[in-house]
Symmetry: C2
Subunit: 163 residues, 2 copies
Amino acid sequence: MELVKMSNGVEWALHSCVTLSQSQEPVPAARLAELHGTPPAYTAKHLQALSRAGIVRSTAGQVGGYTLTRPAAAISVLDVVQAIDGGEPAYRCAEIRQRGPLGIPPEQCVRQCAIARTMAAAQQAWSHALAGVTVADLAEGIDEDSGGTAMADVRGWLLKTRG
Amino acid sequence: MELVKMSNGVEWALHSCVTLSQSQEPVPAARLAELHGTPPAYTAKHLQALSRAGIVRSTAGQVGGYTLTRPAAAISVLDVVQAIDGGEPAYRCAEIRQRGPLGIPPEQCVRQCAIARTMAAAQQAWSHALAGVTVADLAEGIDEDSGGTAMADVRGWLLKTRG
DNA sequence: GTCAAAGTACTCGGATAGCTCGTGTCCGAGTTGACGAGG
DNA sequence: CCTCGTCAACTCGGACACGAGCTATCCGAGTACTTTGAC
């Protein structure tokens, strides 16, 4: 893969975070799924992952739902991606250099091999790019693309459907 | 996932390219698999992918095998990764903004959404990092890690097992 | 009118099937080099 | 001795099972509001 395909739920989770950043009150998973046109149960599953990662907080009961635990400007895209797809790096070195007739004994492998170093550097560049963008940035970008109406529409829809 | 896990065959393909860069004569897939301690048939499958991408050339017959089509310094790690895992980007936008009660009509979506832009930028940073490293660089790095004996050992093993 | 308690409706959370894609393997088509017979 | 044809061995290439992980779903546990009855 490129980086291999990225889990599709990442997109839903990011949209959910952007939507949650527009509401001070809890929003149920079913409401988010309806707004985004995604499967309700599956959307809920990803929100659970965000909850485990400490990005959102869940509230039970009749007026329950999900809320962000911290300001949208303090939540990076990398945080969300790692919450959904796991924090382990995409490339894992199989230590080929230790195998085969020319295998190197493990005690000589104090440093990871050149291939793993290259992959790690690339992943670091990728992570750095994602860590530099916050959910607040995404909301602002989406709003500007729509001419400044998208976020207001979301807030209005959340209020309208809350009753 | 991070970027989700990367295909395991990428590592084998990179090692194979490094090994091929040390031989002017064709090296069969079975020989590469033996040197790397990897499954022969599966290794061959990835070499076929490299062949389709034009990175290696296959030669049939008794003294056949695989050879690099161009100097190792002209083959980037990105080339190999794309050959194995496909050139399509890891993140594909599902166009959530067009769905749901607040869906935006497609004719207004001339530009990809902010989330897709962020992901594309991150992927570009990743690709750039991988494009800046060549197979020749990997060979040099591996050689230095071993104290300057690894590549010579590989050349010696290839000559020894050729007969 | 106030309080308390039971009931109800709504929420999340984890456990459960289906399916695509990566992993691993096999056998057939094609080609090259070697060998032997003939000139 | 040289040439040509046949043979055999070795190579790649694509087609075929297996398994893990993502996709999608459901139902149970828990909580807050509501309602109802008693004081």
